[in-house]
């Protein structure tokens, strides 16, 4: 080993020691390597589009590359499990939706991870309401008329949902119990198949994501009755909200959020929260999210945790009362 080399080694060691000394508390909120966003669904879904939309801007903010990786299968549980078991350093993030975060914990008893214990909520990203519609042959143009029709014609209504245990299904159950409407729940493989079935008049009532359902209502292939939440849709301003028609469950819909692995230090979670909110405040990004059928909805890690706890408890109660289980 030559003199020159030895000096380099010493310098490197010294630099390393210095780096180590400095690393301590500051490191908890700095990004030291590429960040991976895990999407637990196949490419093309809302969570996937959000991740690819947000990824590049997040990368600018944190000064590290951001990689989006799809780990689909098992209703999002495989991808979520991967993040739950990743190192708690804030470099592996999960973006997923209400299904993985609020209903799966109650529906699947043998989950390999605990949504509330093994994942750290960072922030919510978006909320998209549901559109409530019927086939045009159903002689009802409002919720009140539909209730009256169902009473006069028992056994005539079939409400399509995007799968057993989906929020659409659970919401329809709550409405049925609290308002006494008579309808049969018909499960389909996903929202697109459910829409097709109602357009074809196979089933005749639907509650489904506003974005994919709106075009059918605008073209008269479905008749819109109401929109979930408290805000009317800009595209269909004549439709009343669930709040206006006094539905037993108002804020039903789909939402997405970011979570980190268990053990991620609070300063890191705070930094991630701040960076993500910065990205979601960009006009170009929020405009895209409106195109996806929802509104940007951000919150603090504590608020998101509370939101999730409430959602898990609420939907869990419905699932338990109806004895719905997916295992």
């Amino acid at each position: 080993m030559g003199h020159h080399t030895r000096r380099l080694v010493v310098a490197a060691l010294a630099a390393g020691a210095l780096g180590f000394a400095l690393a301590g508390p500051a490191d908890a909120q700095n990004f030291t390597k590429p960040v991976t966003i895990i999407v637990p669904y196949a490419p093309g879904g809302t969570s996937d589009i959000l991740a690819r939309l947000i990824g590049p801007k997040l990368s600018e903010g944190i000064g590290q590359p951001v990689i989006v990786e799809n780990k689909p299968s098992a209703s999002g549980n495989i991808g979520a499990d991967f993040v739950a078991k990743a190192a708690g350093d804030g470099h592996t993030l999960l973006i997923t939706d209400v299904g993985t975060l609020a209903t799966q914990p109650s529906l699947v008893k043998k989950l390999s991870f605990d949504v509330q214990k093994d994942l750290v909520p960072v922030t919510m990203v978006m909320f998209s309401p549901y559109l409530f519609a019927v086939h045009p042959s159903v002689p009802a143009s409002s919720w009140a008329e539909l209730l009256a029709y169902a009473k006069a014609n028992p056994g005539k209504l079939n409400i399509a949902n995007s799968g057993v245990g989906s929020i659409q299904h659970l919401t329809a159950i709550v409405v049925q119990k609290k308002r006494g409407i008579d309808w049969t729940h018909v499960p389909y493989r996903g929202g697109a198949a459910a829409i097709r079935a109602v357009v074809a008049n196979e089933s005749n009532v639907i509650m489904n994501g506003a974005l994919p359902t709106t075009p059918f209502v605008k073209q008269g292939q479905l008749k819109g009755l109401a929109v979930s939440g408290e805000k009317r849709l800009a595209q269909l301003p004549d439709l009343p909200t669930f709040k206006e028609i006094d539905m037993p469950i108002v804020e039903t819909g789909s939402w997405q959020g970011f979570l980190a692995s268990k053990g991620t230090p609070p300063p890191m979670v705070a930094r991630l929260n701040a960076e993500l909110r910065k990205v979601l405040a960009i006009q170009e990004i929020s405009a895209k999210i409106v195109e996806l059928g929802g509104d940007v909805r951000t919150n603090t890690p504590d608020e998101f945790t509370a939101w999730m706890t409430k959602a898990i408890a609420e939907w869990g109660e419905v699932a338990k009362a109806e004895n719905i289980s997916l295992d």
Partner: protein, 499 residues
């Protein structure tokens, strides 16, 4: 809507240099994967999906569509020259196409296959353009009982069209049906036969099974038959078909196109089913059915026209309704959504450039394919001369990458390899994988629609007979089945598949 104006919009999109380039790239890749047995267009499209993120929506769909119909062209080349179908839709092309090659008529067989594909592609493009709206309306007439009856017909057809003993075909359909039941039951949410493996919750993936059984297994068996390779030295001869050959093929092409166009629109239909049906129909309606299997040119023209027409019209439910009819179309939905295009009826009106651009590109793509195929046939053939010891490991690698890339899942690769072994076993015991895969795809749909129909009719099974389309399909299945068990036909059927 005026057709000319719409097509003009379409061509203004399809003829931009960039889109012509993507169309050519798609057609080229499609031909390549079509020629090479073991690499399916679905693997290729899945593999290329991530690369389309950065393209404009129309360009990415134009390229992916090009791969799909391009593969139908390429598949026939291998079928005729090597007696190995480059694509599953080219299986029947082997029967007469390869016999023609053996008799020194390889050139005309290839030419007719390419011309039939082009003619069908052109007609199918026009059909998609003129009939999109009414076809979409027809698809809406199909509800649960009709779908159930359609699946029954599909599975009966799978047995009737299978090679070998009908008993084996029935057994394969049943095995496929049973494996299709693995996963979470859509009506109750109960997991069935998942053995607690989370990955099996969504069922056994179609891509791993298809790649394992049709990719690796077929190749492994081909490796065990080295004599197949010598057939490559078949003389091409003149490309131009004789006048009689031409006269015999034109009506067959038209019949194949008509049949393929109809079958392509139906869910679960598409290229492979279309070519089987067209071949069976040609043989049945021929005055000289004994020529089939010994180099009848109609046996090349009809299925080749049918598989191209079917491949293209399977875009109708996708483009007009946003409903994928088969696994490849499902990947297309993914490609559209990645681009922020929500598939559905509104695409036609809200994004006419995309809708008509993709349709117009199918015609330019077909034109490119005939140029790619006929003069360059020597190039494609030389590709097949690449020794298997080089090609086989490369294909296995591509199969693994393709399987992995669909879900970024190593589990899927394991499943794929398992089905490759199973596929080899099936072929060795003389049981065909085609009825198996049809059972696997159609079975769960059949069950789902049966139970949904019963749910909607509040438990009354008469619903299947009261609805006219459903009743018609069931009667047709019953007739097919009766014909299958009648001894007279059984001997005839064996003749069809005698090679």
């Amino acid at each position: 809507m005026d057709l000319i104006g719409n097509l003009a919009t379409g061509f203004s999109v399809a003829l931009t240099p960039a889109n012509l380039g993507f169309c050519f790239l798609g057609a080229l890749i499609g031909t390549l994967v079509g020629v090479l047995p073991g690499i399916a267009p679905i693997t290729t499209i899945a593999m290329l999906l991530p690369f389309t993120f950065t393209l404009p929506p129309a360009s990415s769909l134009i390229m992916l569509a090009g791969i799909f119909y391009g593969a139908q062209y390429g598949g026939s080349t291998t079928a005729i020259l090597v007696n190995v179908p480059g694509e599953s839709s080219a299986i029947v092309t082997c029967l007469d196409g390869h016999q023609m090659a053996r008799k020194g008529r390889a050139g005309p067989a290839l030419a007719i296959a390419a011309i039939a594909s082009f003619a069908a592609g052109t007609i199918a493009t026009l059909i998609i353009a003129t009939a999109s709206a009414p076809m979409a309306w027809l698809a809406l007439k199909f509800t649960a009982p009709e779908y159930f009856s359609l699946m029954v017909l599909g599975l009966t057809g799978a047995v009737v069209l299978a090679h070998g003993a009908p008993g084996k075909a029935v057994a394969m359909v049943v095995v496929g049906l049973m494996l299709g039941l693995v996963g979470i039951d859509v009506n109750t949410g109960a997991p069935r036969m998942t053995f607690g493996i989370a990955e099996l919750g969504d069922g056994i993936g179609f891509v791993p099974i298809a790649i394992g059984m049709f990719g690796i297994a077929e190749l492994a068996v081909t490796l065990g038959r080295p004599q197949d390779r010598t057939l490559l030295d078949v003389k091409l001869g003149s490309l131009w078909p004789s006048r009689e050959e031409f006269r015999a093929s034109v009506p067959a092409m038209l019949r194949g196109t008509a049949l393929g166009s109809i079958l392509g629109v139906l869910p679960g239909g598409g290229a492979a089913l279309s070519s089987f049906a067209a071949y069976a129909f040609e043989k049945k309606s021929s005055k000289t059915p004994e020529r089939f299997g010994h180099g009848a040119i109609e046996g090349v023209a009809a299925p080749e026209a049918a598989n191209n027409a079917g491949a293209q019209t399977s875009f109708i439910p996708l483009l007009t309704l946003g409903i994928p009819g088969n696994a490849i179309m499902a990947l297309m939905v993914g490609a559209m959504m990645i681009q922020g295009v929500q598939p559905g009826p509104q695409v036609m009106t809200s994004q006419p450039e995309l809708f008509w651009g993709v349709i117009a590109s199918m015609w330019t793509g077909n034109l490119m394919l005939i140029v790619l195929n006929l003069p360059l046939i020597g190039l494609w053939v030389s590709l097949l001369r690449v020794p298997y010891r080089l090609m086989f490991p490369a294909i296995v690698l591509f199969c693994c990458i393709g399987t992995y890339s669909v879900g970024n899942s190593a589990f899927d690769v394991g499943v794929m390899l398992l089905f490759a072994l199973l596929g080899v076993f099936f072929i060795k015991v003389g049981a065909e994988p085609a009825p198996f895969i049809l059972g696997f795809i159609l079975g769960p749909l059949m069950e789902e629609n049966f139970r949904r129909a019963m749910m909607l009719s509040r438990g009354d099974p008469m619903v299947f007979l009261e609805r006219p389309i459903s009743a018609g399909l069931l009667i047709l299945s019953a007739v097919l089945f009766a014909v299958l068990v009648s001894p007279a036909l059984r001997s005839g059927r064996e003749k069809v598949f005698q090679e």
